[in-house]
């Protein structure tokens, strides 16, 4: 799977409005990383396209895809609900509300600073999760049902705020539409450096809890009888998966379906053991989103589609097919 991801990344960097030969891509990448000194032999335009434009974007797509898929697998396992995804408990609407506020401030009040949208989105997502969590908490425990309910309530409320802001701002808030659809256009190195540490650390951290997730599938009480600190594991997993999602959303907008579909597809292939499910979801999610982004760039070139539209176009039919085919296994 890892070689597939590497080939995917290099191929994805080669493909675009300007086709870069495969070997050229490899040389530029190796040169950029300092492992090969081709030096001035490389055409300036090629290095610009490959190194400055495409590579960071493809890497970001891979990281975001991995993070969303992994967070999705964790949420599905944690909530023991096959319909859960990284956005279930209000992370998305929090991030969207944050981004809307940022764009509103810029458009209506002219207040702007660099990276304003991702930072606001990140803050919004964290606030939303904190609020959902405190709503769902009953005497130190966080029952799954109240968590889902609180997520739905907070999401609806935040959606209303977004709509209200859009009404006030009118035409000026077109950017929010593109952001809500999710996209990786014009994402370069600063975005990658902003998000990569969280995405990498979070993903590795989640993998440590595979065993807890497995045993928690038996039910919370049964897991306790097997020596698992269920409430503690739940809090840690919720916090880390939400952070991961918030980071992904803040740099790429709302890319739906990746976190829902990829863990399902992988579960069909590898079975429910989270020790393989989590890393496999991360790899497949990375590969999936890189290709989805390639499609987003090239399908209507030179126009760009939001990648969220591609994932929804691929994801929704796949999910319907899955529902029909695997009715039995969907019944948890």
């Amino acid at each position: 799977m890892v070689p597939v991801l590497l080939v995917t990344i290099v191929t994805a960097v080669s493909v675009g409005t300007v086709q870069v030969p495969f070997y050229m891509t490899l040389r530029v990448v190796l040169d950029g990383a300092g492992w090969l000194t081709a030096g001035d032999a490389l055409p300036r335009t090629m290095t610009a396209i490959v190194w400055d434009l495409r590579l960071p974007r493809v890497l970001l797509a891979a990281l975001v895809g991995a993070a969303l898929s992994m967070a999705g697998a964790v949420f599905q396992g944690l909530l023991r609900n096959p319909l859960a995804d990284p956005f279930t408990i209000g992370v998305s609407s929090g991030a969207a509300a944050g981004a809307t506020v940022a764009l509103f401030l810029r458009a209506v009040m002219g207040w702007y600073f660099p990276q304003q949208v991702p930072l606001f989105a990140f803050a919004g997502a964290l606030l939303a999760i904190a609020f959902v969590y405190s709503l769902a908490k009953i005497g130190g425990r966080v029952p799954v049902v109240t968590l889902l309910l609180a997520g739905v309530v907070v999401s609806s409320f935040l959606s209303a705020i977004i709509s209200l802001l859009m009404v006030f701002a009118g035409e000026d808030l077109q950017g929010i539409w593109f952001w809500l659809s999710g996209g990786l256009a014009l994402r370069s190195w600063p975005y990658l450096w902003l998000a990569a540490p969280y995405l990498l650390l979070g993903s590795v951290f989640l993998a440590f809890f595979a065993r807890e997730l497995n045993v928690m599938q038996l039910g919370e009480e049964a897991a306790q009888h097997l020596g698992i600190h269920v409430e503690r594991a739940k809090k840690i997993l919720l916090a880390v998966a939400s952070l991961l999602t918030a980071t992904a959303v803040s740099v790429s907008g709302m890319i739906g379906f990746v976190g829902l579909i990829v863990p399902h597809a992988v579960r069909m292939l590898t079975g429910p053991d989270h020790r393989t499910l989590l890393p496999a979801s991360a790899l497949c999610g990375a590969i999936f989103l890189v290709w989805a982004d390639v499609l987003a760039r090239t399908a209507l070139a030179p126009r760009e589609l939001p990648v969220g539209i591609i994932t929804a176009f691929v994801g929704a039919p796949f999910f319907i097919w899955l529902l029909h085919k695997k009715k039995k296994e969907m019944r948890w």
Binding site: R80, F208, R211, N214, V215, Q217, L218, G219, E221, A222, Q224, H225, L226, G227, I228, H229, R267, G271, P272, D273, K328, E329, R331, W332
Partner: protein, 296 residues
């Protein structure tokens, strides 16, 4: 093994356990019986450390139960609960293998010993032929046996069973309880089982604990506890208690209401002789309304 003193617990304003006191001997089979809502399952959840007592104390091997860590408890006790295990996407072998969780480190894999114990648990419960099957495809009875196999894979010193035979037909009920009894005797395992069926409780348990209204109504050997008077007080029912034809342990026979018409109504019958306990009469403390008949 267990010493329970003045144990109290309520869910909100509803008092479930109101000052329980009893002791459980190491290596014994204790049956917990009592009408619906008498606090049997709550007691089990307190003894397994899932709930914390709101009053009183639980001692396990001369240490307060609350001083044990979660993992420490998991290495000593296993629980088969009323609800079936989740995790329906796992295979039987994977699920039973989870019973080894308390003995394997975070990144450890199952050792040959662990696999041996899992195979043995599968065999003891008659689940060996199911090992490759996905749990979600099993029948209720098979899932119950898998749950018991998972508990046995923990190699527990204490086994808790909450109505372990609910989904099983009479053949498997006997088989499972025979197995539990065998392990109790051969391994010196302490067994605490909530049992709905009074006869099975009387046949298999060494000691019975009859709960009623959050208190211990009666405790002792089956012969001491399963009497018409005790059952009448706890269950508000008409029963006759006779010796088992072979074992001589008490056996409960249900008396239908029509029996009242024959003129012998309202009498508990013990060992074939009418006793004086008035039956069918509402006890002074009104117990929880019965939702289903006592199975006998």
């Amino acid at each position: 093994m267990f010493q329970v003193k003045d144990l109290r617990f309520s869910y909100g304003s509803r008092t479930v356990l109101d000052g329980l006191a009893f002791a459980v001997e190491k290596g014994s089979f204790t049956g917990i019986i009592g009408p619906n809502g008498s606090g049997k399952t709550t007691l089990l959840r307190l003894l397994t450390g899932v709930l914390a007592p709101q009053g009183g104390e639980i001692w396990l091997d001369n240490q307060q139960l609350r001083s044990y860590s979660r993992l420490g408890l998991a290495r000593q006790m296993a629980v088969v609960s009323q609800e079936a295990d989740g995790g329906v996407l796992f295979t039987v072998e994977e699920l039973v293998g989870m019973g080894r969780t308390p003995f394997i480190g975070r990144f450890g894999r199952e050792s040959a010993d662990d696999r041996q114990i899992v195979a043995e648990s599968l065999e003891l419960t008659g689940c060996l032929h199911l090992r490759e099957r996905v749990v979600g495809e099993l029948s209720g009875g098979e899932r119950q046996r898998v749950a018991i196999a998972r508990a046995l894979a923990q190699r527990p010193a204490i086994l808790f069973l909450d109505e372990p035979t609910t989904h099983l037909d009479i053949g498997y009920q006997q088989e499972i309880l025979d197995l539990v009894k065998k392990l109790q005797v051969s391994r010196g395992m302490t067994v605490l089982a909530v049992l709905h069926d009074l006869n099975l409780a009387a046949y298999y348990a060494d000691t019975l604990l009859l709960l009623h209204d959050g208190k211990v109504e009666a405790a002792g050997t089956p012969a001491e506890v399963v009497t018409a008077d005790n059952l009448a007080a706890a269950y508000r029912t008409r029963v006759a208690v006779t010796p088992h034809p072979v074992l001589n342990t008490p056996t409960v026979a249900f008396l239908p209401a029509a029996y009242g018409a024959s003129g012998l109504s309202g009498r508990a019958v013990q060992d074939g002789i009418s006793s004086t306990a008035p039956l069918g009469q509402t006890p002074t403390q009104s117990p929880q309304p019965r939702q289903e008949p006592v199975s006998i």
